[in-house]
């Protein structure tokens, strides 16, 4: 395998290189996904454009519009970040359960999204948090709501020379609690079979002021049922309502079958893990 390895100094230069080499090039950040594909000869680009020398977007910071995760921050940095834990402990937990510690040290926030593997943890939690994905390309930068970012298996709205630069998480009001539930069907460090992220803001009587539930890994791209979420506002989030929401997610979503579980099994597990996520998000209040 004879490959040119280029190391641009900033995102603009990286996009320019991707434009120049087109289909012959691939962008590489942590490389945890790409190197596997290269080794299996699924890909054989003539040029690898590495983001390894880019200094920008390696950190995590708070800004007026929310919490910013740099695309080049490692998953481990998100997991350990005090800012992330203060913002939403469930988000830190989500990054903490990806693969194993070696993967998390190497894989990046942006790479994880750009790869768009359906059996992944962060996308579902980020969907529940209404994250925006900032990308930059030859025509400048733009922000994409994460709900619109994934198109399907391994496919996103990113243009050929566009690169994810950061993930922006809008501020969460006081008294908002979230939970991330990952179910692995084969081994602890496996990719997920079904995941569920829930976020709840309740009033003093336990009634829903804001409720969001996202499910992923069992379907092509993570999903929320917006109408269902809206329909429970004002209602008390008791066990009965939680069970009804969980059943509705299980009934509505069309799970896929793969080595981690059949569609039938995943449907059952969707109900279980949505229920657990909602209970944990609710009980953060008591």
């Amino acid at each position: 395998m004879n490959m040119k390895y280029l190391e641009p100094a900033d995102f603009g230069e990286a996009s320019a290189l991707l434009s120049e080499y087109g289909d012959d090039s691939k962008v590489i950040a942590g490389g945890t996904a790409l190197v596997l594909m290269l080794r299996q000869k699924f890909l054989s680009p003539a040029v690898l454009v590495s983001l390894g020398q880019i200094r920008a977007q390696r950190g995590i910071h708070l800004d007026g519009d929310g919490l910013h995760l740099g695309a080049l921050a490692s998953l481990r940095e998100v997991e350990q970040s005090l800012l992330v834990r203060q913002y939403c402990p469930a988000l830190a937990h989500t990054y903490a359960v990806v693969g194993n510690i070696r993967i998390r040290h190497q894989a990046t926030v942006g790479g994880n999204l750009a790869e768009a593997d359906y059996a992944s943890d962060p996308p579902t939690m980020l969907l529940a948090l209404d994250a925006r994905v900032k990308v930059s390309g030859p025509d400048g930068s733009r922000e994409i709501p994460i709900a619109e970012f994934f198109l399907g298996f391994y496919s996103t709205v990113l243009g050929p020379a566009e690169i994810v630069t950061e993930v922006i998480l809008p501020p969460l009001p006081e008294n908002t609690h979230a939970s991330y539930q990952k179910f692995t069907s084969r081994s602890a460090e496996d990719r997920p079979c079904v995941v569920s992220a829930a976020l709840a803001r309740l009033d003093a009587d336990g009634r829903c002021l804001d409720l969001r539930v996202a499910v992923g890994a069992s379907i092509e791209t993570p999903r929320r049922l917006a109408e269902l979420e809206a329909s429970v506002l004002g209602r008390k989030l008791d066990d009965q309502l939680i069970a009804a929401i969980a059943d509705e997610y299980a009934r509505t979503l069309e799970p896929l079958s793969d080595v981690r579980g059949s569609a039938w099994y995943r449907r059952e597990m969707t109900a279980v893990f949505v229920r657990r996520a909602l209970k944990e998000a609710r009980d953060g209040h008591s």
Binding site: K26, S44, G152, E220
Partner: protein, 150 residues
């Protein structure tokens, strides 16, 4: 792995049937097709590029028609491989054309067996890719045939 799909073309069944055997024209409608050559009246050899996310595979192989019953049914077998990912595919397929209101319903069923490294991507991804390719093929066929209706 089984792939079942169908689409409607606003053209008569005879027109669609004729079109299927107009190999140069029909093959242009197959997304990712690189080349097709006729070996004999029942056998065709071709090259197809399929993209799944970042992965691009190039399958070369033969299609052998085992049943041709005008104007409504064909069946056959496909045998191909992608050298880059050391993967191979063997498949049997059958297709039917049925007259429906406003045109012709083209329905097909493929039983495919994918082996090698690509097989790890599993049924759901391959099925989704097949659905996408079918939708594109249907769009291209419509563009070819439906334009011709005065």
């Amino acid at each position: 792995m089984q792939i079942v799909d169908s689409f409607v073309v606003k053209a008569s069944r005879d027109e669609v049937w004729k079109f299927i055997f107009d190999i140069p024209r029909m093959s242009k409608c197959i997304p990712g097709i690189e080349s097709v050559e006729t070996v004999d009246e029942n056998t065709y050899r071709g090259k197809l590029v399929v993209k799944v996310g970042p992965i691009r595979s190039e399958f070369g192989g033969t299609v052998n028609l085992t049943e041709i019953t005008p104007p409504g049914r064909i069946a056959g077998a496909v045998d191909g491989d992608d050298k880059g990912s050391a993967s191979s595919v063997k498949a049997t397929f059958s297709g039917t054309l049925t007259e429906v209101e406003g045109g012709t319903l083209a329905a097909f069923q493929v039983d495919a067996n994918l082996r090698g490294r690509l097989a790890q991507f599993g049924g759901p991804i391959i099925n989704a890719t097949a659905k996408k390719l079918t939708a594109e093929f249907a769009k291209n066929v419509r563009a070819q045939l439906e334009h011709e209706i005065p």
